[in-house]
């Protein structure tokens, strides 16, 4: 088979698997698990084959036009360069891991068939986004992901948190998608085509008339999808979904799409220095803010969610300094360790019977109960904190190196100011990342108090996936010297300055956190354990759904995050009150407008409607009065009318004849 055929099969297989899963889900439950895992696995293998054949060389382009679409043609096209090939492999691998993990995690869930089908559809949509060479087809995948995220985040729709979270995810991303759509149209109209190659050619020849406007409109959509400030608020709430879905959204699909899109169209953004600066500021605010917020969260998954936002900030920062190689490199390594973190967190929540860090810090021996999750999570947290030689170190260094070069004027893709912003924010975030990673680890696995309950070993489907993902988290960074060829050719290797600065700051953050934790732990007495879920022995998915209901324990004085943040803690725990800002800025005006519309509809529009009805009714009343039942009256009226008509006719005839 040609590489093109294989590439077409990559998104098609999960889609067919999804359709088959939805069709057979009820009638043939035995086929659901193979139908969920095998197409995704096959897609991952095929993506790997495509990547091997493409080999980071010349981009593969193929296009077919199904039907003429007016002035701007829309093609079904592929554009596979090194970025697309590698990201597709990543999506395939992560999706396969998530599917395998889900077979164990949602073992007894009655809604597993539709869940698995939606995950497959999600994967398929992301692969369409990755491979598509046409912006309109890309948009199709982009929007399918939006709706899939709505359904998957709302998987536990019995709980009000999940319902509102899924709605919020959908609405916030749509808020970004509207300007995104307009931006795509503006771009297509300027370039005269929706083909990515054509758009890039138009950019190179200076054919885009309003690069800043287009770039800023597109950035709004990217901010929504990739959870950048100020549209990031849906991501922490999306933790109400099942953990594998969080892993999928955070690692491979949804949030990666925004970064990947910018990476694909980077020349469009680079054509506008203003857009690059905006992107840099956005990335910087996102990084630092999410780091502070992560330090204050009590829900283990919310900590990870804020860390995802921060790492996406790194990628956006890399793009802001014009180095898409570094951005996609960090995307790949982050996907590996973040998927691992979430999947391991799922195991932790299952074992602990709670998602609260405070509650976990009051039980000891959690590490012994789930050794696989303990070790792999440790690896992933080290990678997250960018400790050499784990994957996160190399990719983060690549970002910082690009920022440093831009700041010092060695690269001129982006303004130097953007470079400085990204560099400073990145270094600060390195400190924060190490702090909250260590806080998470200490409070989860180094708790003091009664023994954690024993629920037996985790299913093999879950633990094996953890170890599979631990390999790239550990070793992906070592491929750094070979990855250059796949991307733009910039070296991604760390330089001494940034390595020392970054690692030093990370180490400082870790040391401070550890010292604070030790001090606080020595001072605070061991308190009574907090309540657990009702069915701690049930399957993991159900435990998590029940854990969503548990009240989080009161503020724990032993929390190092609290001491570190000081007065900022309250604001950071609440996501810097951004939700309240949104409520004031959007929700209240919308509700007021809705009540205004209701008033207009009830009092103004309905007046006309009821007036029409009442006038007809009044006429009917009059006519009804005439219905006396007396035939003579009717006949009189009839004949009188006839006489009048006859007289009129004769008079008219006379008048005409006389005229």
């Amino acid at each position: 088979m040609t590489t093109t055929t294989l590439a077409v099969l990559v998104p098609l297989l999960p889609f067919l698997g999804s359709a088959a899963g939805l069709l057979l889900g009820r009638t043939a439950p035995g086929f659901v698990r193979p139908l969920a895992v095998l197409p995704t696995l096959a897609a991952a293998v095929l993506a790997a084959v495509v990547a091997a054949r493409q080999g980071g060389g010349k981009a593969i382009d193929a296009a077919t036009q199904l039907t003429p679409t007016g002035s701007v043609p829309i093609d079904l096209s592929l554009h596979i360069d090194g970025f697309a090939a590698l990201v597709a492999v990543l999506v395939g691998v992560i999706a396969t891991c998530v599917q395998i993990y889900s077979t164990g995690y949602l073992r007894d869930d009655p809604r597993y068939p539709s869940y698995a089908a939606l995950v497959s559809l999600f994967t398929s949509a992301m692969l369409v986004v990755v491979y598509s060479g046409d912006l309109m087809v890309l948009l199709v995948g982009w929007e399918i992901m939006g709706i899939c995220s709505y359904f998957l985040v709302g998987h536990y729709w019995e709980t009000p948190e999940a319902r509102s979270a899924s709605l919020k995810a959908f609405l916030v991303t749509k808020l970004g998608d509207v300007p995104f759509l307009i931006g795509l149209f503006a771009l297509g109209a300027d370039a005269g085509t929706f083909r990515i190659t054509g758009v890039l050619g138009a950019v190179a020849s200076g054919g885009i008339d309003h690069p800043t406007l287009v770039a800023l409109l597109l950035l709004a959509g990217v901010a929504g999808k990739s959870a950048q400030f100020p549209l990031h608020t849906w991501l922490p709430d999306a933790m109400a979904g099942p953990t594998p879905v969080s892993a999928l959204i955070h690692a491979a699909t949804m949030v990666a799409a925004g970064i990947y899109f910018v990476a694909r169209l980077l020349p469009v953004f680079a054509a506008s220095a203003a857009a690059m600066t905006v992107l840099a500021v956005m990335a910087a605010i996102t990084m630092v803010g999410s780091g502070l917020a992560a330090l204050a969260q009590d829900d283990i998954k919310r900590v990870l969610a804020y860390s995802t936002i921060g790492q996406l900030g790194y990628m956006a920062g890399a793009l802001a300094v014009g180095d898409r190689g570094a951005a996609v490199f960090h995307l790949l390594s982050h996907a590996a360790f973040k998927a691992l973190l979430f999947l391991a967190a799922g195991a932790v929540i299952h074992a602990a019977g709670t998602n609260s860090l405070t509650a976990m810090s009051r039980m000891s021996g959690l590490a012994k109960r789930i050794p696989d999750a303990y070790w792999t999570m440790t690896v992933a947290l080290l990678a997250l904190a960018a400790v050499p030689p784990f994957a996160g170190f190399f990719s983060k260094e690549a970002v910082l190196v690009a920022a440093e070069h831009t700041a010092l004027g060695e690269r001129d893709v982006a303004p130097a100011g953007a470079g400085w912003i990204v560099l400073v924010a990145g270094l600060l975030t390195a400190l924060l990342t190490a702090a909250y990673a260590l806080r998470l680890w200490l409070r989860t696995f180094r708790g003091r108090g009664p023994e954690a309950p024993d629920h037996g070993r985790q299913p093999i489907a879950m633990t094996s996936v953890l170890w599979v993902l631990a390999i790239p988290s550990l070793g992906f960074g070592l491929t750094v010297t070979h990855l250059d060829d796949w991307f733009d050719g910039h070296p991604l290797t760390p330089t001494l300055t940034t390595a020392v600065l970054g690692t030093g700051l990370a180490a400082a953050g870790a040391v401070i956190t550890y010292a604070v934790w030790r001090t606080l732990a020595a001072r605070t007495p061991v308190t009574a354990p907090v309540p657990h879920v009702a069915h701690p022995d049930a399957e993991a998915g159900q435990v998590e759904a029940e854990a969503l209901h548990l009240p989080h324990p009161a503020e724990d004085p032993a929390d190092p995050g609290r001491a570190l943040l000081g007065p900022l803690h309250g604001a950071a725990a609440d996501g810097f009150h951004l939700d309240a800002v949104y409520r004031t800025a959007f929700v209240r005006p919308v509700l007021a407008a809705a009540s205004l519309v209701r008033f207009l509809d009830r009092e103004v529009v309905d007046t006309y409607v009821s007036a029409a009805g009442n006038s007809a009714k009044g006429l009917g009343w009059l006519v009804r009065r005439a219905q006396t039942g007396n035939v003579q009256t009717y006949l009189s009226a009839l004949l009188a009318g006839s006489v009048v008509l006859a007289i009129v006719a004769v008079a008219l005839a006379n008048a005409v004849a006389g005229a």
Partner: protein
């Protein structure tokens, strides 16, 4: 028709010099109209039927004056002989009061008067306006003799004539069915 020819014809007939037939027609017509008026205004129901006989008989005379002999005899035979008799039977069967009945007219009378007057005025106006200068030529053989009518009726109008016989049969059957007493319902 040119104006000259019209003036000549007017002169030939004389507008205010009526012939004997015209005078007879006018007098019988007045009697007929009076009888008709009494028919629709009298408060004694049986008298109304009798005045109707007068009006219908007067009309028969008018047919004779118009040389339609056969129609005149049919008028007398059918209307005066059978229809009025039927109406009288109807009056008797519905227990119509003999003598003056004060409620012979309904409350619709003013409206009826207005409509009738308007219709009469309009029709008379139109008819007079249209036939101001038209005369019927009554000379020559009678146009409605029994001989002529028989020939015409059974040569040219035989099919409608036969259809009419079917209609009469249907009316006969219908009248019997309608007026028959339903025994099972009354029990």
């Amino acid at each position: 028709m040119t104006l000259a020819a019209e003036a000549a014809r007017t002169a030939a007939h004389g507008f205010l010099s009526p012939t004997g037939v015209e005078v007879a027609f006018l007098l019988v017509g007045l009697a007929t109209l009076g009888a008709a008026l009494l028919t629709v205004t009298t408060r004694q129901l049986v008298h109304a039927a009798l005045w109707l006989v007068v009006a219908l008989g007067g009309l028969a005379v008018e047919y004779l004056l118009l040389t339609a002999e056969f129609i005149a005899w049919v008028q007398v035979l059918i209307y005066v002989g059978s229809v009025v008799v039927l109406l009288l039977f109807g009056l008797m069967l519905t227990k119509a009061p003999v003598g003056r009945s004060p409620d012979a007219d309904s409350g619709n009378r003013p409206v009826a008067l207005a409509v009738a007057l308007a219709a009469a005025a309009a029709l008379v106006w139109v008819v007079v306006d249209a036939f101001r200068t038209t005369w019927i030529d009554l000379d020559g053989p009678a146009q409605g003799s029994t001989d002529v009518m028989g020939q015409i009726l059974f040569q040219h109008w035989v099919l409608p004539f036969e259809a009419l016989s079917v209609l009469l049969l249907a009316a006969l059957v219908g009248a019997i069915v309608l007026s028959r007493k339903k025994k099972e319902d009354e029990s």
